[in-house]
Symmetry: D2
Subunit: 116 residues, 4 copies
């Protein structure tokens, strides 16, 4: 399934349950942020090295996978309610980032463009 | 572009800038959560109704679009670093949700399955 | 107990459990953000009116109270690790806000000072 | 100033600006989460060691101090709107944590009590 197909499936899911009343953009951003925090909770006490090694821990990866799905789901719902084309938004943002972070200025440092 | 193609483009972007050193799963969850909060900031003082009407406000929609892209970008990077297939994760999670939230029990109420 | 006394109690709690190794400022911001998200989860599907009426729901208030405590605890720990005086920080910030948001410009509108 | 005095000052600040209309518990949790994310943004690309060394960086400490104040301010406003006594909430939560995390079981490991 591509992104619009997933969005359609999720829209049907919400509609069948009469959940559109809850899915205002405002509420969906709250749900989105709540789900990203589940990811924070998984990683908060790990070192960066341990966070990389999670890839070998089947149980933990299953949890991360589920939370990534939850984040994607609410992000997709939010985009749907405001008629935003996710793929196009991402492609445009990558183009913006290429200008903000030219290779020669950004190589090996993550300083935000407006603090450089 | 489909999701894996976007992920590849983003991986190249990071590699060219030697940013892989910053992109541990731990750090990426922090960046992801920071970006979702930019969405919260846009919606925090709006009523739900106003949040729906944002669709008619070109400037605000441009901001939301950019933040949705940022969230997607970090989510995609996180999935890449842990070798998680986003599309598959989402499809599996929808299947789980269909069991947790059967239409007859969930119609018109958003109560979490474990509080029902 | 005043704020520094609470901070001292929390520092002892961490020290007795040998948890200082986990309490880097970086990790504590993650824990702090994860706890604020528990509050988002409580309120995400409620209308603003329902969120106000929660005050009459003993069970829900008990949950909110616990999450508020968790947020405070990690905020206090973060301030301790970076030797920041919370009370002074707050008083100074209120003074800054008084200048950024003078009554005559801000009355009845929540527009951020830099967008006014 | 103790916590209730700060809360009173903040309540006056909001009242003078006619901002109580925006300060529903729902909205305040969004603002709270948005502010904690400003802290994430400061720390996201730093190693844990670098996050500790920030204590020696006057500029960065000033930023952290300001964000800590912002988090405290919204937390205090939220507690006020729901008539929750922050100090009491924290003291009660510490007592709960002492039971959940007895020294002998928790020494040197940060595993959540329900995963132990």
């Amino acid at each position: 399934m591509n992104i619009p197909e997933i969005q359609k499936k999720l829209a049907n899911f919400a509609q069948e349950r009469n959940w559109e009343q809850f899915h205002s953009p405002k509420n969906l951003t709250m749900a989105l942020a709540a789900e990203t925090a589940e990811l924070l909770e998984i990683f908060q006490w790990l070192t960066e090295e341990e966070s990389k090694n999670l890839i070998n821990n089947e149980n933990e990866i299953a949890s991360v996978k589920e939370e990534i799905a939850d984040v994607f789901i609410y992000l997709a719902r939010l985009a749907t309610t405001l008629d935003i084309d996710i793929e196009r938004a991402v492609i445009e943002k990558i183009a913006v980032n290429e200008k903000k972070y030219p290779v020669e200025l950004s190589k090996g440092n993550a300083t935000k463009y407006d603090k450089r």
